[in-house]
Amino acid sequence: MLTLATVLSAASTDGLPILFQQIEIGVTLGAMYALVALGYTLVYGIIELINFAHGDIFMWATVIMLVVVNAMHIAAPPSNFFALIGLLLLLMAVGMVVSGSLNFGLERFIYRRLRRAPRLAPLIAAVGASFILETVAQIWRGSGSYAFPDIFPPSGVSIGSLRIPVLDAFIVFMAVGLMILLDRFIRMTKIGKAMRATAQDPEAASLMGVNVNRTIGLTFLIGGALAGAAAMFYNLYVGQVWYLTGFQLGLIAFTAAVLGGIGNIYGAVLGGFVIGIVEALATQYLPNGSSWALAVVFGILVLILVLRPSGLLGQQVPNKV
């Protein structure tokens, strides 16, 4: 409430253009958060595990993409349109493969062994895995952050005083496209049906002939791949490759997933956009805003959990006994 009041009072003095511009930034950030949040929510929906390492999987995709770009000696936007599209598709594929396979590997070699252990065990293992992924990146790349080269042309469209860079439009367009694709996949395909069945009741699903292990592994793969796509957008948009980006972004995206109602993919998307906008507004309107942005996001997380633990779109489900 305090945040909202500050925002509104500041908006009235600074004028609406800044507010709209911040919302535009927020939507772009939100598209990335939503993609990462989907990974949390898919995994939580199917095995009720908070995959702490999800953010670090995202970070690894950003790192590997930087390595690929450097190896190709690309430091500026390609002049040819098709070369640009090709490069973006290549990077996205790299990111999706890296984080998808890392996430799949975590499930296969760590979480799967702990599926019947008490809740705390896989959670602690996930924290450990996150720690390992971060530290390996730190040892390999050092503690500093690296700039990702600007490979996207900096052109944009102006509507009045509002400026929409092509990059932002591209990110939102692609992210929404991936979300629609995911929705179709889960709703229309046989594998999607298996995923929903496993989420509802793994035992019953396996009695109906669903290969539960494969379905869970695939869920991790898809969730990871979405994080990999988000990693490419992040590299283009923020462009800071750092071993701790995944930690912070993971926390923000998790907040988004909880805000929307964890386990609910539409909730994750909604939560992602809301958190992105809130963060952009907080950065603009709070004094020394960028250093408080994370604290604001967490404040929201605590508030949601207190006021509406099931999230915006989640339903109240009784605890499984």
Binding site: R116, A121, A125, G128, T135, I139, S143, L294, F298, P309
Partner: protein, 440 residues
Amino acid sequence: MATQTTPKQATPSRVDRMRSWASETMIAGRPVIWYVTGWRFALIALILTILLPLVPYDVYPGIQSLVVAMTTVWIYVMLALGLNIVVGYAGLLDLGYVAFFVIGSYTFAAGTFGQLHDWTGGGVFPVPTFPMIWLIPIGALLAGFFGILLGAPTLRLRGDYLAIVTLGFGEIVPIVFQNLPTFFGNLGMSATQPAPIDTPFGQITFTDPLNNAPFYYLALGLVVLITLGVAALRDSSVGRAWVAIREDETAAETSGVNLTRTKLLAFALGAFVGGIGGVINTAFVPSILPVNFNFNVSITILIMVVLGGIGSIPGVIVGAIILRLFDVYILGLINDPIHQSALVAPATAPLHFLANVDFNVMKYLIYGIVLVIMILLRPQGIIPDARRRRELKGIGAAPEDMSAVGLFEAEEAGADIPALDNLDQTAYAGEGSDAQGRDS
């Protein structure tokens, strides 16, 4: 898992051989095992640790640095014992334990420095100063208060949400201190070292850099107090309520346990102990740099608990000692010599790459691996919780059930160590039942 149903008699394991040696060898008319069992072992260990600062320089020149290292070890033992109340007893994963450490730290700094900046960072206003003896309970109570403040709304939630909320809290608290000009922002604070205390036996000075024994004894004394307090709590009705919640919230609630209040008590007590650790640490160091309070601290303490044995007091103490000694003492011992010799070696030498390896970063990799490996292979820790083991033996659970019990289960401890019927066994269990006990 199957090993526990089939007792192994065929070949005596290393543990068995160690045990028979311990029961046959006599010292002063008693077998060795008599000395290393239960409270006697604790007593002997305590006497040895009390004597440590008295070792003269001539006998061991590195004694002062060892005493400094051991002081920080005791501080971390406190923290691990505090976190163990939350994670081990109540089964709540607290990933932001560093927050309470921070609150204790700033309590000491503000309470000895005498002034703070105002909200804008411009002027200063005076803050009453207190002697250290008062700041310990003040810091602990403040931390406990914030624990209740955070816990009251969130503890009604499911456990894994709590993990994230505490993680967020652990991130926010240092951010708040970093950004508030009141507490000097990013620069941190330097505390005034505690004033000398007059006692009937003479004056105790805490500021002598060549004699760290007073701090050592202060920290050790607090560890003993906290250990006794935690043990008493564990065996009280509250402790049983915690375990009931940890095992099955729904069943505990139906049996009349007030979930929120019981969890909140665990959370607040954990925070309380964390606050004590923060106060003592700042008094000892005596400066604060807010960037040092990060997730790594929370995780390090969690690893101490998991490594030693979740919910086991001797386990947690041993886990904290191992990890902290490794950190401050052993890592410090190997880091510089390896770097120097690797730098001197020609660039083509096979181990030259070691010159570029920072072992202080590498340690977090090791910590992460330890965490995952322990959870996968030995979830009960180095020294499993005795009550837990007794429960498992008592009810004679079937192997399938054992795997479900998982985290706290004494996976093979029951098969390895006979007659585990009371707490006294924990001490020698620690001697042998680690990885080498898995030989068959």
